[in-house]
């Protein structure tokens, strides 16, 4: 049976890298006593799949993992078994049974909504930057990738840019190719770089 797990990765756990996260989930499901299906071969691995890796330090309310189990148990039972098995900051929010041929996690996400705080930018300046972004049709940004650099129009990616009541920023980022990271969006919009960019708090609130 195949299941899609939605979980949060918050607080301390935001600082786990992707490899550590896989380890935490794999051992966690084993601690929960779930019978994972393993790949065949010399080094069998449990059949777990993930979406796009979340950058270290970003908190998220909406991470996903698909797992395949030998047994046919209800989503509710999986939630109960997994209630106490993860380190602080990792929490299962939803479990749903999915068809074996379901769309991969990555392909089923159209947009991600982020909330950004601790930018160290005065409110007036934030507002001005946002207004100027709103008024433009073209906001070019050069993506630096290993092989080549790629000019994209950020307007095609940012579906929403809003100021929240607590003065945090909300960005809805569309998932499309070439892929753009949320830190790159913030860098492009607000001119933050280096340590300043690393120090902001990012929360991935929801996906759709």
């Amino acid at each position: 049976m195949k299941y899609r797990i939605k979980f949060s990765k918050k607080g301390e756990a935001a600082f786990l890298g992707h490899l550590e996260l896989i380890n935490v989930l794999k051992t966690g499901f084993r601690r929960a006593g779930l019978f994972l299906i393993y790949s065949q071969g010399f080094h069998p691995h449990p059949k777990l799949s993930f979406g796009k890796a979340l950058s270290v330090g970003i908190e998220s309310e909406c991470e996903f993992c698909d797992l395949e189990l030998l047994e046919n148990i209800s989503s509710q039972q999986i939630r109960e078994k997994c209630a106490q098995v993860f380190p602080q900051g990792i929490k299962i929010k939803e479990v749903s049974e999915i068809a074996p041929e379901s769309l991969a996690i990555e392909d089923s996400i159209k947009a991600s909504i982020y909330e950004i705080s601790n930018m160290g930018i005065a409110i007036d300046q934030l507002k001005a930057t946002m207004a100027s972004f709103d008024h433009q049709d073209l906001f070019l940004f050069e993506l630096e990738r290993k092989k080549k650099s790629n000019k994209i129009n950020l307007k095609d990616y940012v579906a929403e840019l809003a100021l929240l009541e607590n003065n945090d920023i909300r960005i809805q980022l569309l998932e499309k190719q070439p892929m753009v990271r949320i830190q790159e969006v913030i860098q492009a919009l607000f001119g933050l770089e280096g340590i300043e960019l690393k120090k902001i708090f990012i929360m991935k609130r929801e996906v759709n």
Binding site: G11, E12, A13, F15, L16, G17, L19, E20, N23, V24, K26, T27, G28, F29, R30, R31, G33, L36, Y38, F42, H43, P44, P46, V56, G57, V85, F86, P87, Q88, G89, I195, K198, K199
Partner: protein, 575 residues
């Protein structure tokens, strides 16, 4: 504290090293504990979490109603920089409390090259380095672990050092700290405990190591902390402590005598509980010589039965293959491991008699034959260079054996591989070789260069240990308290994480040594029988006479039998 830590974690590599909160932490209430101890491993998280000694103590302390144990490891230099930059004290992983807030700081001493990491921990915690400069407003600093058997180079930094098994000693220490509040009186009372060395009371006191008589009677973790990442990420079950072999170079084989075991039933239960609570796929039975476990085959069969259908993978770090039955090999074969490690230790039978690891070349080839024919395609061979009395024959022997093993392998598998690694012999305290000389760096480099040249070809690869590090290890392993200021100086010049190639710089160490007029070569020289050794006042129950006899036998190439009741060599450990 977390709100501040959270601000600097984005600036460091692998921030998971500092977040704590793993599955298996004790989570005790800070305020309700009467005495709090922070257990420290002086190296980076991934190595610290591969250690199985501190978790035993963590478990025992946290199971006691009055006491609390937390953890701290040496931060990687990038994190150390951020802590200093932001004027943050070194903090514990579980409670995120400043290390200086604990009543006791217990630091294990796993290897000599971690000594300056100990100083780094004290430095980042804001604790004066020397015991004499601290009063009861600072934590009581306790040392222990493998290097405690000659702790003199670091002794002045510690208030007390525990020799031997810590299971009972740690509780005795915490009981004293619970009641006695002045540092002077604490030290006086600590010195009365078996196995506790209080260096400030001088070297006149005789200290005898503490020994747990019955492993079954002391508790072993069933729900250990599960690492986010570790060099050895597996559940480890200690099945034996001590060794009956008496290989003359091996410090562990002497200082951890007598040989004690956990029963098959206990070991299997511990394996089951550890695998269930950690969710690990890999596990290992820990012992200095696992194939000597009295019911090794039964242990494997029982474990296999208890863990079937669970995708559990036993790992066997190194086995004496000559003693493995076909049935045992058959079980081990099922473990998903690509390579089988063997430790012939030396290149000729003559040298194996000198070091009392008296296996023959024929034994070895027969084992290798069995291993390749059972389906393994890679054999790892581990040798030492620089053993006492070594000459060209031993080096040629390493080459001959390695090539012959590969030839055996190729008969079974075209893709057979032999990986050879060498370390440099470093004489250690409380062994029959504590009096012998260590080879110089130049000699070691020449030997390594020879092997590099010879051990080439398809299927053959060669790895060697850094000769400069072995040199420094040799200095520290047999040094005395005069090296303490050298360690401080080396630390101040930036030398910590000295066991790591990217940070090790011998020139800085040499500068620190020469600043105190110390010629490091003197530590590598042979000692006379009646020479005063820095650890003469520390007893591991072995008679010095016995060690000397073993040394003399080695000179004649005579071996000693495995110790047993019917064949007692009178080492002095059994009462």
């Amino acid at each position: 504290m977390w709100s501040i830590i959270k601000q600097i974690l984005p600036l460091v590599e692998k921030p998971f090293r500092y977040i704590g909160g793993e599955v298996g932490i004790a989570g005790k209430n800070w305020d309700q504990a009467k005495v709090r101890i922070c257990l420290a491993f002086p190296d980076v998280y991934e190595l610290a979490m591969s250690n199985t000694g501190l978790p035993i103590l963590y478990n025992i302390v946290n199971n006691h109603p009055d006491f609390l144990a937390d953890r701290v490891y040496t931060p990687w230099p990038d994190m150390a920089f951020q802590l200093k930059q932001n004027k943050l004290p070194l903090f514990s992983l579980d409670h995120k409390r400043a290390v200086a807030d604990f009543e006791v700081l217990g630091i294990t001493l796993p290897y000599e090259l971690s000594y300056t990491n100990v100083i780094n921990i004290l430095d980042l915690a804001g604790i004066p380095f020397y015991s004499k400069d601290r009063n009861e407003s600072y934590p009581l600093i306790i040392g222990g672990g493998p290097c405690a058997f000659n702790p003199e180079p670091v002794a002045p930094f510690f208030d007390a050092i525990v020799l031997g098994d810590g299971e009972q000693t740690i509780i005795q220490i915490l009981e004293i700290v619970k009641i006695v509040k002045t540092r002077r009186e604490q030290l006086n009372q600590l010195s009365q405990i078996q196995g506790v060395y209080v260096s400030s009371l001088g070297q006149e006191q005789q200290v005898h190591k503490s020994t747990v008589d019955d492993l079954e009677a002391v508790s072993y973790p069933t729900h250990p902390v599960v690492p986010y990442a570790a060099a050895h990420n597996r559940a480890g079950i200690e099945v034996s402590r001590g060794c009956q072999r008496g290989c003359r170079f091996c410090q562990a084989g002497f200082v951890y005598r007598p040989l004690r075991h956990r029963s098959v039933a206990t070991a299997v239960n511990l394996a089951k509980e550890n695998l269930a609570s950690t969710g690990q796929e890999d596990f290992s039975f820990l012992s200095l010589s696992l194939s000597d476990y009295p019911e090794f085959c039964n242990l494997l069969k029982a474990t296999q039965e208890a863990t079937k259908n669970q995708y559990v993978n036993p790992q066997f770090p190194s086995l004496r293959a000559e003693s493995l039955s076909d049935e045992t090999l058959d079980i081990i074969k099922k473990a998903r491991s690509g390579s089988f490690t063997l430790a012939p230790e030396a290149g000729t039978e003559r040298m194996r008699q000198i070091i009392n690891k008296g296996n023959t070349d024929e034994d070895l080839y027969a084992s290798v034959q069995k291993i390749f024919s059972s389906g393994w395609h890679r054999v790892k061979l581990y040798f030492m260079i620089g053993l006492p009395g070594e000459n060209e024959e031993e080096l040629a022997g390493i080459v001959k054996i390695s090539k012959h093993c590969l030839a055996i392998g190729k008969k079974h598998n075209r893709r057979a591989e032999v990986t050879v690694s060498t370390s440099i012999f470093v004489p250690k305290a409380h062994t029959p070789f504590q009096w012998v000389s260590q080879i110089s760096m130049a000699e070691a480099q020449a030997k390594i260069a020879y092997l590099q040249k010879q051990l080439k070809g398809r299927g053959l690869s060669y790895r060697w240990h850094n000769s400069q590090m072995s040199f420094l290890e040799g200095v520290l392993a047999r040094g005395g308290q005069e090296l303490a200021p050298v360690l401080v100086e080396a630390y101040k010049s930036g030398q910590y994480f000295s066991g790591w190639d990217e940070y090790f710089n011998l020139e800085k160490w040499q500068a620190a040594l020469s600043q105190f007029g110390i010629n490091p070569e003197q530590y590598l020289k042979a000692r006379d029988q009646d020479a005063k050794l820095p650890w003469d006042h520390l007893y591991v129950d072995l008679k010095k006479k016995f060690l000397w006899q073993e040394y003399e036998k080695s000179l004649k190439g005579q071996t000693s039998p495995i110790c047993s009741l019917s064949n007692c060599l009178g080492c002095g450990v059994c009462k």
